[in-house]
Symmetry: none
Subunit: 401 residues, 2 copies
């Protein structure tokens, strides 16, 4: 179902406030048979109090069995169909370093590589050149000038960087120039349609000038480009939902994802407590607040069960600052599960809690996966969470007479 057709048609304005607290990778697994998950193990008196008032369920970021990356995981939470609204690799990498893409941009991931005297790649990652050596190279390439196009070259880490071509009528359908092999030269840039052929011409010129600048470099005397992608053409959050939205995140990736859908990235918090300060300060200027907490994911990726439990408790301790603002709707959820037992993102549906004066509370008295299984929201696709939030905020009119 295209929920956007409905939210565009039915959206109404009022003074309600919606807070979506995203604990990245929140869902988990027991680490021993019959045991509790991370969320069930954590002492969460504040979340449990909300569980009494609210209604729980399990959110499928994409579909049963599908493990999402951070991009599709967040797009689902923001109310977008994550399969229909794809973010290309180059675009996501740019977003991840905080680069603000425009509709005129084609972004690509770059790899520094070593090229031998015959023009063949001898090392696809330039001996894994350290960041302190590679970052200045990216800065040096900023001197490249190509008429009719604006260029941005941004260091990432070690052998990786991103390059963005900004200009009119540029297409993003170009295969990688990385041949995925050594002993052969990089592939020639090629475009799969007229607009992308135009981009390919610029890419050729860029690579040519770069090779001249780099020719005396011992390791990184060449480069390959991968994951060419236009800035994704995503409908903007305010148009779709009628909500002025603020994103309060610490990490560039999540600020970037929020800004792709048109949220204002507010504040420059570096801790959850500072994020709460920003939330309080921005409270009267926005209708919707996306608050992102990273550490439930990173501790999951580390496989550190105790650390994830502690991070959940840290989050719980901050709940009173959110409820203190009296949000009309408070959602606590995650973009996917990251069970310590798997040390990675997973397909398991995400425990989700919705609290509002007009939700239909279920019988649960604590927040956790086992409770969510029998919760009143049932199991649902993440993209419906925004619809539920709007309904509970009184911001959706009746469909049909």
């Amino acid at each position: 179902m295209n929920t956007h057709d409905l939210t565009r048609q039915l959206q109404e304005k009022n003074d309600s406030k919606i807070v979506m607290l995203v604990a990245d990778g929140l869902g988990g697994l027991p680490i021993k048979p019959g045991g509790n998950t991370e969320l069930e193990t954590a002492k969460t008196p504040n979340l449990d109090a909300l569980a009494v008032q609210g209604v729980q369920g399990l959110s499928h970021p994409i579909a049963p069995g599908i493990t999402p990356g951070s991009g599709p995981g967040h797009l689902g939470l923001f109310g977008y169909d994550p399969v229909e609204n794809l973010i290309g690799r180059g675009a996501l990498e740019s977003v991840g370093i905080g680069f603000k893409l425009t509709p005129q941009d084609v972004a690509a991931r770059g790899n520094w590589c070593t090229i031998d005297a015959d023009g063949n790649i001898s090392d696809r990652r330039a001996s894994r050149i350290p960041t302190e050596e590679s970052a200045p190279l990216a800065e040096r390439l900023r001197d490249i000038a190509i008429p009719g196009v604006q260029l941005f070259v941004e260091p990432v880490k070690e052998h990786r960087f991103v390059v963005i071509f900004r200009g009119e009528g540029l297409g993003g359908n170009l295969p990688d120039t990385d041949p995925q092999a050594t002993g052969v030269p990089p592939l020639e840039p090629a475009g799969e349609d007229d607009a992308s052929k135009k981009t390919a011409g610029l890419v050729r010129e860029f690579i040519g000038q770069a090779r001249e600048m780099l020719e005396d470099e011992p390791k990184a005397n060449g480069l390959t480009l991968r994951g060419f992608a236009c800035s994704p053409d995503i409908p903007q959050f305010e148009e779709v939902f009628g909500l002025r939205a603020a994103a309060i995140a610490v990490y560039p990736m999540y600020k970037g994802l929020a800004s792709l859908v048109g949220m204002d990235v507010v504040g420059s918090a570096t801790t959850l407590s500072e994020q709460m300060d920003v939330l309080e300060e921005a409270w009267h200027d926005y209708d919707f607040f996306f608050v992102h907490f990273k550490y439930t994911d990173s501790t999951g990726e580390d496989g550190n069960f105790e650390a994830k439990v502690k991070r959940i408790e840290e989050l719980d301790a901050m709940i009173p600052r959110m409820t203190g603002l009296n949000p009309t709707v408070l959602l606590v959820t995650g973009d996917h599960s990251t069970p310590c037992a798997l040390e990675s993102h997973s397909w398991h549906p995400v425990p989700t809690l919705l609290v509002s004066a007009h939700c239909r509370p279920d019988a649960n008295t604590s927040f956790g996966e086992s409770q969510a299984v029998v919760g009143g929201l049932g199991q649902f696709e993440a993209k419906y969470m925004m619809v539920l939030a709007m309904a509970n905020a009184g911001r959706l009119g009746k469909f049909g007479a």
Copy 2:
């Protein structure tokens, strides 16, 4: 959602083994108010032990309220959208008698009928001619020769048979020649497009020659053809899921359905115990095993509650031979419900149990409909079962970065 786009893109190889045990018509109903279903009544210590380790849910073969036939029921379990992937009646009838269709085939169901002196149908089922009389007639029609086409005529039962036209460029869009009435002649074969007009010409020729051969028959001196259908154009299982699949079934229909999606039909077991022998023998040659058990359906169709309970207990007794092989993922499910109370297939969702090291176990301690209602898999469309199986087997990569 087109799950095949996702499984094609995300599939990964490893050494995992997936067993899907299909107890045909597994789901049931209580026969008295407040009573238990067949599955809940059966003593199933082995399935109950799996229920402790695993996660349950309810599978909707098509959609809530829709009762499937065996064809769509199994296609859903095999991970296909059963509404998008239709198997025409003629094709299903052919598959059901173990005939292996090719892409050049158009199949139709035939009825022997009695035609009077004026050329009108006097009995649409040839006095329900017994099989021992009708089977030789089908064999006699094998002498029909039509240039440019290969013909197969296969007896089914009583007044029914199937005919398959094999040739290049034959279409399957032909209305039935059965007028569904007596006192009128059979309808002339007609094609709805060019390719089907070509088929219609062959059908006319076939019927003409048949009428001559049959003119002295007292009962079955004519025939009508129904349910014309090309061999369905179904994406093949290994391409879609990256799994080498073996089907271990006793009845031709289920072997045929498995072979339509490209599974290898292995062994020639006639009992569940022999099916387990085949499973053990084939274990190292395949990634995926479809094991079909018919008798939960046939006892349901008979309305024999006690017999269905016994059949479920028989199945339970065989579980240790499956778990003894240490499958990475074991699924126990059905293609639909066949409640004894209804003596037919039904729309009730099917209790489903998934066991793997990485599932998120629910609180259930026995396998049954009431437990599945509060199970961790929730209620889901059958086509997602393959996605879940692949995820639990570590065979699906992450969607998006």
